[in-house]
């Protein structure tokens, strides 16, 4: 006994016992059915299989076949979402446009196979260097775009500089001047335009970076914070922690019976040295 789930005339899903149908009708029905079950089929297996196929098909529409990064279609969708989020929360989002410098030279001298290999390396470098929340897309042949949710221009520019360095360090067999130019733009709650304007800003920044001699980062506007900040270093933490060691000893000396020597006094000496 065969079962077919298909779209009915009035409802979304109708289940028909295929065996009872005349042959031509049966074939037509099987061709357009969402799901066909034969007696040996397990429903769960069948659903899992369909789900997998579905995911694969969806990934084809949203990712780039060569690099596996997101494609422009997904990028445009996600950019709208980020802009909406910024408008709602007031938290700025940033994006960058990355263009490989002299990539054509690589294709021309070493062939497209090597060119594609380099694109793959670039893609994996971007993935490694970026944060899990960043969205990396292949925007065109040798162009990449990154959406950085909840990131201001200051942080975005720093990340861009890091990427630029990482890409310049990708090893090449021949000595070719392959590097990256990056344009960064921020979308804040005060930004007037939509996604087109946002992309345009990043594009303009990229154009300036290219024009200014390539292999550099340009950003649209001025980041508010300009001071280079250092985090609290391990050395500083150690310096602070020394007292806690002293306190630990205090706790221990209070918990254990004393035998004449004052452990806190000893620790005090140690601290001074």
């Amino acid at each position: 006994m065969w079962l077919a789930a298909h779209k009915g005339r009035k409802t979304d899903v109708v289940i028909t016992f295929v065996d009872e149908l005349p042959e031509p009708d049966r074939d037509a029905l099987l061709a357009r059915a969402h799901l066909v079950m034969v007696p040996d089929d397990d429903l769960l297996d069948k659903i899992v299989q369909l789900k997998k196929e579905n995911n694969h098909l969806r990934s084809l529409t949203l990712t780039d076949a060569l690099t596996g990064l997101y494609n422009t279609r997904f990028f445009t969708m996600q950019l709208e979402i980020e802009i909406a989020r910024t408008r709602r929360t007031g938290q700025p989002s940033s994006m960058m446009m990355i263009d490989l410098d002299n990539f054509k030279l690589l294709n021309d001298t070493m062939g497209h196979v090597h060119g594609n290999r380099f694109l793959l390396k670039t893609a994996s470098t971007l993935r490694e260097q970026l944060r899990p929340t960043d969205i990396v897309c292949r925007y065109g042949g040798d162009e990449f775009a990154v959406i950085m949710p909840a990131t201001d221009l200051f942080d975005a520019a720093r990340i861009a500089t890091r990427l630029q360095q990482a890409i310049a360090e990708i090893p090449l067999k021949k000595l070719l001047p392959i590097s990256a130019s990056i344009g960064v733009a921020e979308y804040s709650a005060e930004s007037k335009g939509g996604s087109d304007e946002f992309v345009h800003q990043a594009d303009m920044a990229l154009y300036k970076a290219k024009k200014n001699g390539k292999n550099q980062v340009f950003y649209a506007g001025k980041p508010e914070k300009t001071v280079e900040l250092d985090s609290v270093t391990q050395e500083e933490k150690w310096s602070l922690a020394r007292s806690s060691k002293w306190r630990l000893e205090q706790v221990f000396s209070a918990a254990q019976p004393h035998n004449g020597t004052d452990s806190s006094g000893r620790a005090g000496l140690k601290k001074r040295s």
């Binding site: 007031g90 938290q91 709650a189 508010e224 914070k225 001071v227 900040l229 250092d230 985090s231 609290v232 270093t233 050395e235 500083e236 933490k237 310096s239 602070l240 922690a241 020394r242 007292s243 806690s244 002293w246 306190r247 205090q250 005090g268 601290k271």
Partner: protein, 253 residues
């Protein structure tokens, strides 16, 4: 005070729950007791609780000033302890991370009322968000509260470092809260002071320590100001000493 400029001090810590609000409230009360005109502002706009500590139900808070168009003078509440209070808001997401302009708006609203006071104490929130930094910047004096926990020590240091790096501040006063002994307070202070001298290149001022005292949580539960309700307690006496240290700022202006 001969001049119209009050002493504006922020109370910050980096880490939460080390006793910023307790210090602010008691300091404000003790200064008021010394016949000073004191204003305490709860700048913790995300999770404000100074009103809770005082057992007050403020009709207007900073939120109404920023979003509701209320004037800052309407938000001033006189307290039983003798100082004025401007309450913050709690549980309002827009206030927890206000836009830079909103912070400026609050600062601009506060400035005109400053001349009516001798002391203005700004109780900032935990963390080193833009808002906390901006209120620390508004104050001329930054009081850093920490306790015996190593994490509070590190966070306090991080706060100092950020203020130094972004705004070139190099004058901080430290209070060590809930210590076992006075000696321990000095010890903890010397540690952060040494680290500051060594890595940032400036010393810190020691305002004093507050002894761990059962009277403190008791006063908080009763929504009383410890220094007023139980002035004979150990912690109250420590607060007294700290207040004297703060008063000595007047001459150094």
């Amino acid at each position: 005070m001969d001049e119209q400029i009050p002493i504006i001090a922020s109370v910050a810590s980096g880490k939460g729950g080390v006793g910023k609000t307790f210090v602010t409230v008691n300091l404000a009360a003790l200064l008021a007791k010394k016949k000073k005109r004191v204003l305490a502002v709860d700048c913790d706009l995300g999770l404000a609780n100074m009103d809770i500590m005082l057992g007050l139900d403020p009709p207007l808070t900073l939120k109404d000033v920023v979003f509701g168009g209320a004037t800052i003078r309407d938000a001033i509440i006189p307290t039983k302890a003798g100082f004025d209070l401007i309450a913050g808001s709690s549980g309002v997401k827009e206030m927890a991370q206000p836009l830079y302009e909103k912070i400026q708006l609050i600062k601009d609203a506060l400035r005109p009322i400053f001349p009516s006071y001798d002391y203005v104490l700004l109780d900032t929130g935990a963390g080193i968000s833009e808002m906390v930094l901006q209120f620390n910047l508004l104050a001329y004096r930054n009081i850093i509260v920490l306790n015996r926990e190593l994490t509070s020590l590190t966070d306090a240091y991080a706060m100092i470092k950020v203020m130094y790096q972004i705004f070139a501040r190099d004058c901080f006063s430290v209070i060590v809260n809930s210590t076992a002994t006075e000696k321990e307070g000095r010890k903890i202070f010397s540690q952060i002071d040494t680290t500051c001298r060594k890595f940032l290149g400036f010393p810190l001022e020691y305002l004093g320590s507050i002894t761990s005292d059962q009277a403190v949580p008791r006063s908080i539960i009763r929504q009383e100001v410890l220094a007023i309700s139980t002035p004979q307690s150990l912690a109250s006496k420590d607060c007294d000493c700290i207040t004297q240290g703060v008063c000595s700022w007047e001459t150094s202006y």
